[in-house]
Symmetry: C2
Subunit: 312 residues, 2 copies
């Protein structure tokens, strides 16, 4: 098995975590979380999205959030944008990185966006032109890459087709996303290895939800496939659009904890990541699916017991 | 990565799941669960333990349970026994397989059993003689093999020492157990590979708790190390003796679901395993940490959506 020295964590809690929450956080609360994320040492942060506020009211203040946040050097702040209008707004707010997104599944794409994946891709051409003109970087997401609630398992060829379209547009940072938690580690290893080998020019990011508890296994399999960048959301916020009460994104702190236990560096201070998760949990005001938030780190257990022993 | 055709699941819910429950199930309830486990196709079942009823009242009726249960051909029923007295009771009740257990960690062993691991091992000699005389098979468990709340990470050499002691007694089925959920997949792969290579005569079983969400990853890593037998407990019952409210054993149905998604056969009917978990949850009367019980199988999601589409 492969054990890279370093794995990179992208924090998507402010976007994919909060967008599924019933409670709308204030900008001050979001800024507090953002500060904590930055302080923990995470260098890639998805701060929000520029979608229609009626569709996702939780993200309606993304513009203001970007205007108010202090940008720390060395941290990449990105927002999700579905089209040129979103990109223009992100740019106007002061962001230099945006993530385009479409669904690899034709049925899902048509159902959600009323367009086929290729029609959506055509809509990205003006985004690419706009980005070039204003010196913005673009990332491309392939949602439903690992499974679709309409189409089931997605064949690798279907992913590959969309990857090639992104590459035609010159977008070489690509994220394979699993919002319904249907990916399994064998699939991640097999499809991931194929993609890494076929497209060595791509910077791959994997995005997993822990709907069926396979997210950490999928990250492990992704690492074996040679991928070293993974999304996570503090406290495991988020959910699944089709399953009420399903668990959401893989909790950032659980990912970091596992990696550190495996002697893989993330550059993140785990205690601070746990503190972020704890604060996020307080803000949303309900139980969350984070494990280390509940059980503590392995070393905490040993320390507690050692202390008790010493106190005897 | 390795993808064996077949992986074997041992159901330990009736023992390691229920022994941590506040509610004491009746023998009838336990028999109902046992019938469901057998009907799901699981072939190795840990039905209880012969420990002192004051220490673990949940297991006080193991003797009666064994006397009343109907033994299905081809199913291996085992109980955990700490010493000769336990083994004699198991035999008297009609069981032909027992699992001895000790902790690899000296501090943990002394704290729990008031004996060192080697002193406990010496106590197993009469068990081996008794088993030979009465034609019983013995399995050996090494608890705290992956981490100890007193000693932290356990070095492989410490596990190896106990393995050699078990082998001296002629016990070649060995289970490496992680009741505090401290194992991580790199460790499982590295220690597991070493053990498989060093002791090819051993039939290895891995027992993980999902305390910090690493259990499925650990199973994946165990498979990569060449191990194909894993314990699980219906609905993920159980817990951690040192962490209140921590999640317990890895849920059997989540293990089976992941393996089936990976095209690895378990011989178990997943729907029936989910039904067992649902019934166990009803009996204990509280929320459980099972994922597929809550989110359903991947295919359920696709089926539901497909049906909705067809009904439009």
């Amino acid at each position: 098995m492969l054990w890279p020295d370093k794995v990179t964590i992208c924090e998507v809690g402010l976007r994919d975590g909060l967008q599924n929450e019933k409670v709308l956080l204030s900008i001050d609360e979001k800024l507090e979380l953002l500060d904590m994320v930055v302080a923990s040492g995470i260098k890639i942060i998805e701060v929000g999205s520029f979608v229609h506020p009626k569709a996702i009211p939780q993200m309606a203040d993304t513009e203001k959030l970007i205007q108010r946040m202090k940008k720390v050097d060395g941290v990449e702040y990105r927002a999700l944008v579905p089209n040129l209008k979103g990109l223009e707004r992100a740019h106007a707010a002061g962001l230099t990185k945006a993530k385009l997104t479409l669904s690899v599944s034709e049925s899902h794409c048509i159902n959600n966006f009323n367009q086929t994946p290729l029609e959506m891709m055509a809509g990205f051409i003006p985004c690419v032109e706009y980005a070039a003109k204003h010196n913005l970087s673009l990332s491309g997401a392939l949602s439903s890459a690992w499974g679709c609630s309409f189409e089931g398992r997605i064949p690798a060829a279907q992913i590959e087709k969309i990857v090639r379209e992104y590459l035609k547009l010159g977008i070489t940072e690509l994220s394979l996303s699993d919002a319904t938690g249907m990916a399994n580690p064998r699939q991640v290893y097999e499809v991931g290895s194929y993609m890494v080998k076929t497209f060595p020019e791509v910077k791959w990011i994997l995005h997993f939800h822990n709907t069926r508890d396979m997210a950490l296994s999928n990250i492990l399999a992704g690492i074996q496939a040679g991928i070293t960048i993974f999304d996570g959301a503090f406290a495991g916020l988020g959910g699944c659009p089709y399953i009420p009460d399903a668990t959401g994104n893989v909790p950032t702190e659980d990912v970091i904890h596992m990696l550190h236990e495996m002697n893989i560096n993330t550059g993140v201070d785990l205690s601070k990541a746990i503190a972020t998760a704890r604060r996020a949990k307080e803000m949303v005001g309900h139980e969350v699916a984070s494990y280390v938030l509940k059980a503590g780190r392995c070393e905490d257990l040993t320390n507690i017991k050692a202390q008790r022993q010493n106190n005897r």
